[in-house]
């Protein structure tokens, strides 16, 4: 099932390549922590095969925005989203949606690496075993594929059965990316995946994001201007829960239209 949908996806991409297809569309998205509103009428479109960077000062609502896309905020009873999040045209904020299926298609990697208390292999196989009926051989193959994609295979192939928590911070983060990538989601939400890492691990993960762009729609939160410039195709600049400017990355950094964007970029 997974394989066929993956193949279909690639075919689809081939024909849609010239004008990139819109995968996700946010319409008038608002978000509330209790009574406090943190997003105000956000309208955005995310395209297949692109990395979109969300950039803006701390507390502007970047994490809140991507957390409403996979409805992870629902873990907390007082958090609420309103408006529309259209995934292939269907509003995922509707009550009838199967959230587990949604989260299978829209994967998320967090700021802090969060290996599960099990071996490296099991960490990656964990989601696979819950979602797909795969033979042990297929699982092994997929785990290797995901670890290779995440630029971790060569470092861990001899210790797949050691604890995931025994890896370095940067390796753990790549393990978390592998764990998500293994499910072959369509969209990858990355919330400051490098902010807890050293420069070398950061470079590895940035390369990885550029590499993964071919297969996924990627939304990357970063409050590091240089990182957004380095790896994104499109950049969204946000402030105080509102989108200020959305442009192709090269244009936005070359000639920011909005004064606030300009000041933010120049402060780096």
């Amino acid at each position: 099932m997974a394989n066929s949908s993956h193949a279909a996806k690639q075919d689809h991409k081939a024909e849609a390549a010239p004008h990139k297809a819109a995968v996700l569309e946010l319409k008038k998205l608002c978000f509330f922590y209790g009574t406090q509103q943190s997003l105000f009428d956000v309208n955005l479109t995310f395209h297949r095969g692109q990395v979109t960077a969300l950039m803006g000062p701390s507390g502007c609502g970047k994490s809140t925005l991507i957390r409403s896309i996979n409805r992870i905020y629902e873990l907390y009873p007082n958090q609420r989203a309103a408006g529309e999040v259209l995934f292939h045209g269907a509003n995922v904020l509707e009550p009838g949606i199967d959230v587990n299926d949604l989260r299978l298609k829209i994967g998320m990697v967090f700021q802090k690496p969060t290996p599960f208390p099990m071996t490296i292999f099991e960490n990656v196989a964990f989601g696979l075993k819950r979602h797909y009926k795969m033979t042990p051989a297929e699982i092994e193959e997929r785990v290797e594929w995901a670890l290779t994609k995440s630029a971790l295979w060569s470092e861990v192939k001899d210790k797949l059965h050691k604890a995931g928590t025994a890896l370095s911070g940067g390796q753990q983060q790549r393990l978390c990316i592998a764990r998500t990538v293994a499910l072959k989601p369509e969209v990858l939400l990355l919330d400051e995946p490098t902010s807890a890492l050293d420069p070398l691990s950061t470079v590895k993960i940035e390369e990885l994001v550029r590499e993964l762009r071919q297969d996924f729609t990627i939304i990357l939160v970063s409050h590091n201007v240089n990182q957004a410039r380095r790896i994104s195709d499109e950049t969204v600049f946000m402030e105080a829960g509102r989108v200020v400017e959305v442009r192709k990355t090269s244009e936005l950094f070359g000639s920011p239209k909005d004064q606030r964007t300009k000041i933010f970029i120049e402060s780096f």
């Binding site: 299978l104 599960f116 819950r130």
Partner: protein, 286 residues
Amino acid sequence: MQISINISAGPSISARRIKDWVFSALCFLAAVFGIGVLALILYCLLKLGLPGLSLSLFTESTPPPSVEGGGLANAIVGTLIITGIAMAIAAPVGILIATMLVEFPGKGKLAALVRFFNDVLLSAPSILVGLFTYAFMVRTLGHFSGLAGSVALAFIAIPMVVRTAEGVLALLPVQVREAAVALGIPRWKVTVLIIWRAAAGGIVTAILLATARITGETAPLLFTALSNNFFTGNPMQPMANLPVVMFNYALSPYENWQNLAWAGAILITVSILGLSVVARIFFRTR
């Protein structure tokens, strides 16, 4: 150097030193007192209990009055069975309640209520628990039984398991929970396969500590399991157990019974000590 001299200069320097010294001395004395009492208890226990220790303790059942020899086999087995059944009830119930409190608190009102009742139960005198179990179980069934003793002990163990396990579960980083949920895995599977697994060491500790605590409980068993001079493995009958046998024998006029009571005291102390040490090791290695 200069700065520190400036700060500590002034008339209060010696006064503060003396206060420091007095305070340290008080802490030290308190520690010595605590350890001293413990040492005294252990000394009495060993002095009076060691002569009674022998292999027959484990092979023979409690003797009739003024008969020499005999052992505690029926009481040891009884205690193992009663405690085992009690923990077989208390561990799953306690873990499920703790899981509900941490993982599925909803809007928090029910959780607050459960937490409140748990705290009440935690501080309830054990004799009350025994009396309660007597009223609803022994009287209903019409006879004392080992099972009633297990139920009474379970009531004492449950709030302990809940309290400790809740603390352990709450310590797990929320990010692990979020990461698992973000993979599209249903909440209950996340709980069972990841949360419980991550907290396994702490949960085992919670169970061991609760077991240690109920091993020496006497009052609830007086009302429920009572005792039995004969060996039985049937929890539907009254059952001998170490605390009640100790209680009866220590107060008796027969020297042989008194020796057995002290030997039983050593057994209980050693097993509680053992459980606590194992619990500690478990908690450290995780």
